[in-house]
């Protein structure tokens, strides 16, 4: 469905008085097969949106080639546009318009007749739980509703390939979970191929068959979510001690939970990666209690994108790139 080779984009920007060529995407190869949900994962500024804008004909690649939905990106952009749907992270509707009118007008630009556009639009409103919103102004909708309206806009011409740029950014947890259901429904019910960008591992985890990790405009890993997470050894257990004198004792107890790892000590904080931390924790607490160690706090963190990213690139996702 998508086959890109060496897709690259360089921007000319001014830094002071000099003109500098900034490499936003430095030659990526992407293969997405029909019916797949593939996630494009990386920190802000990694080149996700730039890649997406190239694949959706919005931005001309500096070099490289791609076929999207069976058509050559450079030679047949109009055919590519007809075959794909794109849901951008900045939205797609005017706040003061009416939702239904926006859907119909959007469909008209695809050459769909007005009658068919309204029928399809209303179907999508039903599917995406936007019943009764046809005459509403998008600015009066909730974040989740408006995002679903954007998705309806992207689907009105029944594309076989849909691009979603950061679909759940800015949504509350309930709206996110709801959105994920709708996205995975697209594939199961319509057989749509989905390519989405995200910087949340849980989102990629919940939705994607495969994940491409991009950093500094280069793809650094491509695998299933499970395989990626296996690269991070276990959950992070963090103990915060009440007094300095007990730090060493706590560290030695924590270290017993690992086979060839030892706990890190940072002031009053002792931490280590532990397999199946949930099952190990009760024993650890009893042991610490028995040794007379008083804990101020305890925290267990599941592997996050940050951890995966740290393992793969040697630096934290949260550091400024």
């Amino acid at each position: 469905m998508i086959h890109a080779r060496g897709l690259a984009r360089t921007f000319d920007t001014k830094r002071g008085r000099e003109r500098v060529a900034v490499k936003a995407v430095g030659g990526v190869d992407i293969d997405v097969e029909e019916g797949e949900i593939v996630g494009f994962l990386g920190p802000n500024g990694a080149g996700k949106t730039t890649t997406l804008r190239m694949l959706t004909t919005l931005l001309k690649p500096t070099s490289g080639t791609a076929t999207v939905a069976g058509f050559d990106l450079a030679r047949e952009p109009v055919k590519v546009r007809k075959a794909i749907g794109y849901v951008s992270q900045s939205g797609s509707t005017a706040g003061i318009a009416r939702a239904g009118e926006e859907i119909v007008d959007h469909a008209l630009l695809y050459g769909i007749s007005a009658g068919q556009a309204e029928k399809r639009g209303k179907e999508l409103f039903d599917q995406l739980e936007l019943e009764g919103m046809w005459a509403r102004q998008p600015k009066t909708m909730s974040g989740g509703q408006r995002r679903r309206l954007d998705i309806a806009m992207g689907l009105v011409h029944d594309p076989k390939l849909v691009f979603l740029d950061e679909p759940s950014t800015g949504l509350d947890p309930q709206a996110r979970a709801n959105l994920w259901t709708h996205i995975s429904d697209l594939r199961t019910k319509l057989g749509t191929t989905i390519f989405l960008t995200t910087h949340y591992l849980d989102e990629a985890d919940a939705l994607c068959d495969r994940i491409l990790v991009i950093d500094h405009g280069v793809i650094v890993a491509a695998d299933t979510p499970d395989a990626l997470k296996r690269e991070v050894a276990g959950d992070l257990v963090e103990l915060v001690l009440a007094s300095e004198s007990e730090v060493a004792t706590a560290a030695s107890h924590l270290s017993k939970l690992g086979t060839n790892t030892t706990a890190d000590i940072d002031g009053l904080v002792v931490s280590m990666r532990v397999q199946h931390a949930g099952a190990e924790l009760p024993g650890l607490l009893r042991a610490l209690d028995g040794a007379g160690v008083t804990l101020a706090a305890i925290e267990v963190r599941r592997p996050t994108l940050d951890d995966v990213f740290l393992t793969m690139t040697g630096r934290s996702l949260r550091e400024d790139a």
């Binding site: 004909t57 794909i84 900045s90 939205g91 797609s92 005017a94 050459g111």
Partner: protein
Amino acid sequence: MTFFYDTWVIYRRQLRLALRNPAWVIIGLAQPVLYLALFGPLLKPLAAQIGTANAYTFFVPGLLIQLGLFGALFAGFGLVSEWREGVIEAERVTPANRAALLFGRVLRDLSLLLVQGIVLIALGFAFGMRGSLLGMILGLVLILLLGGACSAASYALALTLKSEDALAPILNSIALPVLLLAGILLPISIATGAPQWLVTVSDFMPIKYLVNALRELFVGHVLTITTMWGALWVLLLFALGIFYGTRTFRKDNA
């Protein structure tokens, strides 16, 4: 042909949105109306000195230019907020003709400009303006060409800059010298006592020829060398504006 159909779809949507929020149409008209009501009476006693029989027949053409120039020149601000809402990207990802995305918007601006122009002329009559109806109709056509040039250029600039903060100083630094040097409020001519250097500078302002042409048209002098110059300049500006706009909207990375 998809260009005309897409232009129609964009135009209809834009017009619908403009009519749903008519505040801007009214604010755009308020400025020349205020000039008409509050500045016009000051011109009346000067009519003889300016060299005109009717101060309003002299003044309304200038206000029409102001309306066409300013209303359209600031159209780009609307496009920046559309960009921010993702509407432009959403339209560009459809197979719609790129130039149609521009022309639909320009046509919306021209429709509003036409209505505003007619209202302004009607108000002029109420204030005592008299003149040639044919001349006024032709004058409106020239104003629409000017408006088309300004709005296309404004949209292109807005699409390139994508920021109100960058757009505002550029547009203001164009608008104010034009307003002052085109003789929109008062004539810039040796006959009325303007200094030679100012006259020379204003001769380089294409809009000045349009203002002069419009004033001739309004008193019924349709086929004169002045009106021809005005028409020529506005056609040139229109061609430039449309060329710049179309080229920008067709660019792949706009």
